[in-house]
């Protein structure tokens, strides 16, 4: 078959206005969701299915002395057990921190760390057997937070990292900071804290593993990243990847919580291979709180120089992250607490120091906004304070400082279109900001904040030269189109984006499309549903595959109808002549003609993001094909007597580039506002030591849906959402991300609104009524009207990586990074971008937006 060239050259001006793109349509999986027929992992059933249960550590930090299964084996229905020694290979989502074992071997590192596994014929029997497994421990020091982690003389949780219980230290400087501060008329410093919180997806994580042969296994799982699970399984099970099939079932919510590889997924596969029968495990809600991988508790310090006109001259941000017991995505999370500080406003000089600590708590990882909601909260509260000091309206301060579309930031991020001006204008107009801000009665206030997020991480998690997303189409004489793609539907609507793009290009109905997704045996690799990458990357890959199919069909039809190929229109399930619409074929006949001409029809599409300009170590975190922008205004009512408060209304505007399906976009916007309010008002993944007579173990304070407070129907205020459309050439049909960005402005907008209402600053989230009362009390005593952390810990960040900014004539490299070995492994965070050129050179056919 002739290799069709990239279809982007086609003159798209002839296309009819989008039949699918931009229109609200019922999501392709909508019927399955409302009829209860969507198959989640726990819904699967197989003959001879047995049940797996993990034995989890009861101590936060201890050496494992012995494990005794003798009493467990007596439970009727007991089938078998596993320990870590049977799976000795470590794994971890990032190649630089493969520090986990499927079951702990030497040590346990948090309460809940899995040490053993048992299988039985019923769930109850497995549970009973797990309770009977006896583990003997030798306790070690408990590292309960950032301060203890920084202390020199305590037991180390891991024997790698940047010293003591420090996992990772980062220090980088872009431009001459001191010159920047010297120019400033106002220098402002703030210390703030963002508490950890968890994803709380309603679906409990579940995995079903089915042995297909002695060395072949299929794993069905609630995962956002089947490809990464596949890789980890191959490694730990010591099997060629071709013998392992991972199928991501529809996720009952993800939010980042199912984007890591989990112990239970690996253990289930191992147990299935051991027992030769299907194995299921479904975590209970308490276990899920302990698996976590959610928002890092983060302490922040900001120092920023401002000129009288509000422009910024320099910023120094320091962050300290409580990472929990394992690496997870933590290296990337650490970089992310600094990387996106420059993409919203013009920040000519910037320094970032970050440190991630190991502590004896469940590992933190990525949650909606991955590492960026914390510094975004810090920055936007900081700006609110600056606006007051400078006598500039907070909305105007932001409008004056907007980053330049298409510019390269001080830390070498290539920006795309920026719809932030229109976002701010929309929420300002909608909320009546100009008339009402600063003028509402005591106890009522308005707060404004902005945010920005990636549309897909520029680099994959492990270094490779392959596409980050692939799509395959199969067409035949039925007129039906089968679309194969590795993407994972987690509720966000990725299936619908995939189908809509293909339907749009081929001019057919959504119902003509059959999807096959997230199956590592059958579908081309897509890296997964994380970093807001799916709409953009899958969208491009689908677009390319569909354009190639269209070209094959058009060539065949042009010949048959004797019409120039360029004049053919694909719409209304027909292929016809633009000059004579009567002259044409049904889509079904058109494919038949093409199948006769070319033989069996199939096309592929793939996508690789453009090369980023930064070349310094760490430049791999932050680049994205483009960025989304959001602005929010929150109106709040605060009772100064009790500190109780209630957000009354949220206005939010999101720069979506272009909506593929506005009703799905709105769902993400509203869901993000909800989750942002939850984090700002109540959600806490916090820990306490049990009383001494109960072992003093460090445990979760609220490991249940009842005790872990999250917003209910009653807590959610009305939300007015504005979709700002400014198509970005980097996005498929101009689209940007929406799944994460709209969360970002919400917490700081709430804190700023509380200040407008009662004149006190709450420099940490979640904001609890007693914090407001305490701050009001301080205020009445003439002290600082503020509640929040006072100091940022002393940390030696080591040698600063010095990088000249584009304005200083830099080339994207660090000045003091001479001839260092280029790190290839951890391209997501530590890897340099230097090999990107080569990677892209090899690419024939992948769409790389330039």
């Amino acid at each position: 078959m002739a290799e069709p060239s990239d279809g982007k050259q086609r003159d798209e001006s002839l296309d009819l206005p989008g039949r699918h793109i931009g229109q609200p349509f019922r999501r392709v999986d909508g019927r399955a969701k409302v009829t209860g027929t969507t198959r989640f992992a726990d819904d699967l059933h197989f003959p001879r299915l047995c049940h797996l249960k993990l034995v989890r550590s009861t101590l936060p930090h201890a050496r494992i002395k012995a494990i005794d299964f003798s009493s467990a084996a007596d439970v009727p229905g007991y089938l078998g057990s596993l320990t870590g020694r049977q799976m000795p290979h470590p794994f971890g989502i990032l190649p630089v921190s493969e520090d986990e074992h499927a079951l702990c071997i030497e040590k346990v590192r948090y309460v809940g760390d899995p040490v053993a596994a048992v299988a039985a014929t019923s769930e109850e029997a497995a549970y009973e057997a797990a309770l009977r497994v006896e583990v003997e421990y030798e306790p070690l020091d408990t590292i309960d937070g950032i301060d203890t982690a920084l202390a020199a003389d305590l037991d180390r949780i891991h024997d790698y990292g940047d010293g003591n219980n420090i996992h990772k230290k980062v220090s980088m400087r872009f431009g001459d900071l001191e010159a920047g501060f010297a120019e400033a008329d106002l220098e402002l410093e703030d210390t703030l804290f963002y508490e950890g919180n968890t994803h709380l997806a309603m679906e409990q994580h579940a995995t079903v593993a089915v042995a297909e042969d002695e060395d072949r296994v299929t794993v069905y799982s609630s995962t956002q990243t089947p490809h990464y699970v596949h890789r980890a399984l191959a490694k730990v099970l010591e099997l060629p990847p071709s013998r392992i099939r991972v199928i991501a079932c529809s996720n009952g919510g993800g939010f980042g919580g199912k984007s890591d590889v989990f112990n239970h997924e690996i253990v289930a596969a191992k147990m299935a291979l051991e027992l030769g029968r299907p194995v299921r495990i479904t975590l209970n809600r308490e276990e899920i709180f302990y698996c976590h991988r959610g928002r890092h508790p983060t302490l922040m310090h900001l120092r920023t120089g401002f000129k009288k006109d509000g422009s910024m001259t320099a910023q120094h941000l320091r962050t300290a992250l409580d990472g929990g017991a394992y690496g997870s995505y933590g290296v990337a999370s650490t970089y992310y607490t600094g990387a996106l500080q420059t993409v919203t406003y013009d920040l000519p000089r910037y320094r970032f120091d970050g440190v991630r600590c190991f502590t004896n708590k469940p590992p933190c990882g990525p949650k909606r906004g991955h590492g960026t909601p914390q510094p975004r909260f810090g920055f936007e509260v900081h700006l609110d304070k600056a606006a007051e000091k400078l006598g500039i309206d907070p909305a105007d301060l932001r409008l004056r400082n907007l980053a330049e579309p298409g510019s390269v930031t001080a830390n070498w991020l290539q920006l795309g279109t920026i719809g932030l001006r229109r976002c701010i204008e929309a929420v300002v107009a909608g909320s009546g900001w100009r008339e009402r801000y600063g003028r509402l009665p005591h106890g009522r206030g308005l707060g404004l904040a902005c945010g920005s997020y990636l549309c897909g991480a520029g680099l994959p998690i492990y270094w490779n030269h392959m596409p980050q997303s692939g799509v395959q189409l199969k067409l035949d004489r039925s007129g039906g189109v089968a679309v194969f793609c590795g993407e994972a539907e987690i509720g966000q609507g990725s299936d619908s984006v995939l189908a809509a793009v293909v339907a749009e290009v081929l001019g057919i109905d959504l119902a003509d499309i059959r999807l096959c997704v997230a199956d590592t045996d059958l579908t081309p690799v897509d890296l997964g549903s994380y970093s807001s990458r799916v709409t953009l990357m899958v969208g491009h890959a689908a677009h390319q595959a569909a354009e190639r199919a269209r070209k094959l069909i058009a060539q065949a039809v042009a010949k048959r109808l004797e019409v120039p190929r360029e004049r053919l229109i694909f719409a209304e399930r027909r292929v016809f002549d633009a000059a004579d619409p009567e002259k044409g074929l049904s889509f079904e006949d058109a494919v038949t003609v093409a199948e006769a001409k070319w033989g069996t029809l199939g096309t592929t599409g793939s996508y690789i993001p453009p090369r980023a300009p930064g070349k310094y170590r760490g430049a791999g975190v932050g680049p994205s094909p483009t960025y989304s922008y959001s602005a929010a205004v929150v109106e709040v009512e605060v009772d100064p007597e009790t500190g109780l408060y209630r957000p009354d209304h949220v206005w939010i505007a999101h720069d979506i580039g272009r909506s593929i399906n506005p009703v799905l976009v709105l769902g993400q916007v509203e869901g993000s506002v909800y989750m942002g309010l939850g984090e700002a008002m109540m959600e806490e993944q916090a820990f306490r030591a049990l009383p001494r007579h109960l072992s003093s173990a460090l445990v979760h304070k609220t490991p249940s849906l009842l005790e872990y407070k999250s917003p209910t129907f009653h807590d959610m205020p009305p939300v007015t959402s504005y979709l700002i459309e400014d198509p970005d050439p980097q996005g498929p049909f101009g689209a940007k991300e929406v799944g994460q960005g709209p969360l970002l402005p919400v917490p700081p907008a709430l804190a700023n609104a509380i200040y407008d209402a009662v004149g006190v600053r709450i420099d940490q989230v979640p904001i609890q009524p007693q914090m407001i009362l305490k701050a009001l009390d301080e205020k009445s005593r003439g002290r600082q009207a503020r509640y929040g952390p006072k100091v940022f810990p002393e940390v030696d960040f080591g040698e600063i990586l010095r990088v000249l900014t584009p304005a200083e004539g830099g080339d994207g490299h660090a000045l003091n990074e001479h001839g260092e070995k280029k790190a290839h492994g951890m391209s997501g965070a530590d890897g340099t971008m230097s090999s990107r050129d080569e990677a892209l050179k090899d690419k024939d056919g992948a769409v790389t937006t330039k």
């Binding site: 309603m202 989750m675 209910t712």
Partner: protein, 180 residues
């Protein structure tokens, strides 16, 4: 563990069947495991999230909190029985059209609870809906589309026309005064 089992005739979605199950199993477990009706979901199995709600004699019940053994002679309705033949129930239509079911995991419980509400109160106010559904958590939607979908379904069920409001499909249009 010596397990006692119970054999009972259960009436589910208008069809009766004889089911044998361990006596201590909840209705949730029996629906999902013994009957293969996996439309009913679970988020906690402790009565805290509302995800597992089904109707028993028309009233919403958390199926993780009741024993199947208590269901003799009771009429059980699950999401599998909601459709009218091959047509969606009005609640299902509006939930699907408004994207009120995103991941769809909380959806079956919410649909069943909303069905009971509409049977009781054909024209609920927004506060009535909030109150009726307040025992259910949804992590995806922020609840707005669910409220709008129940309102739409009430209209459809009453034989009225329902067209979703433009701003619930496209977002709101900002008034024109925001510049500096």
């Amino acid at each position: 563990m010596a397990e006692r089992t119970t054999t009972l005739e259960l009436l589910i979605n208008g069809e009766s069947r004889v089911v044998a199950f361990p006596t201590h199993h909840t209705l949730l477990e029996v629906l999902r495991e013994e009957c293969g009706l996996t439309g009913t979901k679970h988020g906690c199995e402790l009565g805290e999230c509302g995800t597992c709600a089904v109707l028993v004699d028309g009233q919403p019940v958390l199926s993780c909190l009741v024993l199947a053994a208590q269901m003799s002679g009771r009429e059980i309705e699950t999401v599998e029985g909601l459709q009218e033949g091959n047509r969606l129930h009005p609640l299902q239509q509006t939930f699907a059209d408004l994207n009120a079911a995103q991941c769809g995991y909380c959806t079956p419980g919410i649909l069943m609870t909303a069905k009971a509400l509409l049977a009781d109160n054909a024209h609920p106010t927004r506060d009535d809906i909030r109150e009726a559904l307040s025992g259910t958590l949804c992590r995806c939607t922020g609840y707005h589309k669910i409220l709008q979908a129940v309102e739409g379904a009430a209209q459809l069920a009453a034989g009225e026309e329902w067209t979703p409001a433009a701003d619930s499909l496209h977002g709101a249009t900002p008034p024109d005064r925001g510049s500096e």
